[in-house]
């Protein structure tokens, strides 16, 4: 279908973008890669009166090393994230999960910031943002603020971004040596969204698991941090026959997964447990060298 009419603005600086968005009314929306928004407009599931295209705003795109964290600009495309040597070296979990997003053509357009701002619990990156305790940097006429991922995803497609706020970049803390990572995605076809996905980070030393981070995709109206698993895994023996399986049994704890054509809630809970076990095993096997 053809989208309903809207006004279109394409600011070239962040100051201009903030001004234009503030002046464009309550029903205005930010447009980044458009790969969540345009499908919605085409199905006439959304009717913004104006789109503020941040795709060419200077300084919002690219990855930089900031010492204790990596800053990923909001309009950095999925493809650029996957190829970034900085991301691959310092936050491999982001690269692993982003590589599973959709297909190459979608990854050429869709952006890192757009994926988080869209706050889709079926998206692969929100769970990673939670697991890694990312911090989202935001600009508005009132100035700048930083929102921790734990307080960003409020409900289905609802984030903590207030009207008029633009996500400019995302801080990804570097976890340091001794960590291993894995993103386990279960989906029916290659380009499909996750039925359930599990983002896992494991730190171990001498065969003992010291710390675990687990984020779950599509297990509720927001991405979920599997804190019960994280607690249960601390101090267990790594490997096939160790305590990781028992820890993974807690993965569905406190979740409220959706029912849809792909899966019912009880099946999703089963998947969460099985996939979490796989993710923890892979993450502990792919440990980065403890330098």
């Amino acid at each position: 279908m053809i989208p309903a009419s809207f006004d279109y603005f394409r600011p070239s600086t962040i100051e201009e973008a903030v001004d234009v968005l503030a002046g464009a009314g309550e029903e205005a929306k930010v447009l980044a890669g458009g790969h969540s928004l345009l499908p919605l407009l085409r199905l006439r599931l959304a009717y913004p009166t104006a789109l503020v295209d941040v795709g060419r705003v200077a300084g919002l795109r690219g990855v930089s090393d900031r010492g204790d964290h990596v800053l990923i600009g909001a309009t950095t495309t999925h493809d650029e994230v996957v190829r970034s040597p900085i991301v691959r070296e310092h936050c491999p979990l982001v690269a692993l999960a982003t590589a599973t997003v959709a297909d190459p053509a979608v990854r050429h357009r869709g952006t890192f910031g757009g994926s988080l701002a869209h706050a889709d619990p079926a998206g692969d990156l929100p769970a990673v943002a939670l697991a890694l305790d990312m911090v989202l940097e935001v600009r508005s006429p009132a100035g700048e603020r930083a929102i921790p991922a734990a307080g960003f995803f409020l409900d289905y497609l609802e984030s903590a971004l207030a009207p008029g706020e633009i996500l400019t970049g995302v801080r990804v803390p570097k976890l340091g040596p001794g960590w291993g990572f894995h993103y386990e995605k279960f989906h029916r076809t290659a380009q499909a969204w996750a039925t359930v996905g599990v983002a896992a980070a494991v730190r171990q030393s001498n065969g003992t698991v010291e710390e675990v981070r687990v984020g779950l995709t599509n297990m509720g109206s927001t991405p979920v941090r599997a804190t019960a698993v994280e607690e249960a895994a601390r101090g267990v023996e790594a490997g096939q026959n160790g305590g990781l399986r028992r820890a993974a049994e807690q993965a569905a704890e406190g979740t409220d997964p959706p029912a849809d054509l792909h899966a019912q809630p009880d099946y999703r809970m089963h998947l969460a447990r099985v996939l979490t076990h796989r993710a923890l095993l892979s993450a502990s096997a792919h440990r980065s060298p403890a330098t």
């Binding site: 790969h35 085409r42 190459p104 053509a105 050429h108 357009r109």
Partner: protein
């Protein structure tokens, strides 16, 4: 209305367009480039794939205004001097199409894939074309064609 200037298949255009106009509709309805088909309403099928500044995109999910200042290549612009592109030739030789509906998108996605990986494994071709659906061939001949084109292109461009 917004004014855009784009280069499509080597020819420069300037046009006034409604912001809601999709790039694929601009190509088909305004420029008459019907070589780019539309296969779905959900950004899934990849039939509408074109190259935007050299990388594959689904033109049904890009606004014409977002392509302002860019270079667009459609299936109608991949041959040169009356010679088929090696990927076109390989699709013909390997019988990589039946109804042909997915073919323009498949060929453009393949050209982008080969730019990145001049010698893709069968698995890499399947991964690289995961955003392009074919309802006829079962993909085997498509994969074969892309690998044949890769070989051809390595020979002709050392």
């Amino acid at each position: 209305m917004a004014r855009i200037s784009v280069e499509v298949d080597g020819i420069a255009y300037e046009d006034d367009v409604e912001p809601r106009l999709l790039l694929v509709h601009y190509l088909r309805d305004r420029l008459g480039k019907t070589g780019t088909p539309i296969g779905c309403d959900t950004t899934n099928c990849g039939a509408c794939t074109v190259l935007l500044d050299g990388t594959s995109v689904k033109s049904c999910s890009v606004l014409a205004v977002q392509a302002d200042g860019c270079d667009v290549t459609t299936i109608e612009g991949v041959s040169s001097d009356g010679e088929w592109h090696p990927v076109q030739k390989a699709f013909h030789e390997e019988h990589a199409l039946q109804c042909g509906y997915c073919t323009p998108g498949m060929i453009l996605a393949s050209i982008d894939l080969l730019k990145d990986d001049p010698d893709p494994s069968e698995e890499a071709v399947r991964q690289g074309l995961e955003g392009n659906l074919c309802r006829c061939t079962g993909y085997c001949n498509i994969v074969r064609a892309v690998r044949r084109a890769a070989q051809e292109m390595r020979v002709t461009t050392p």
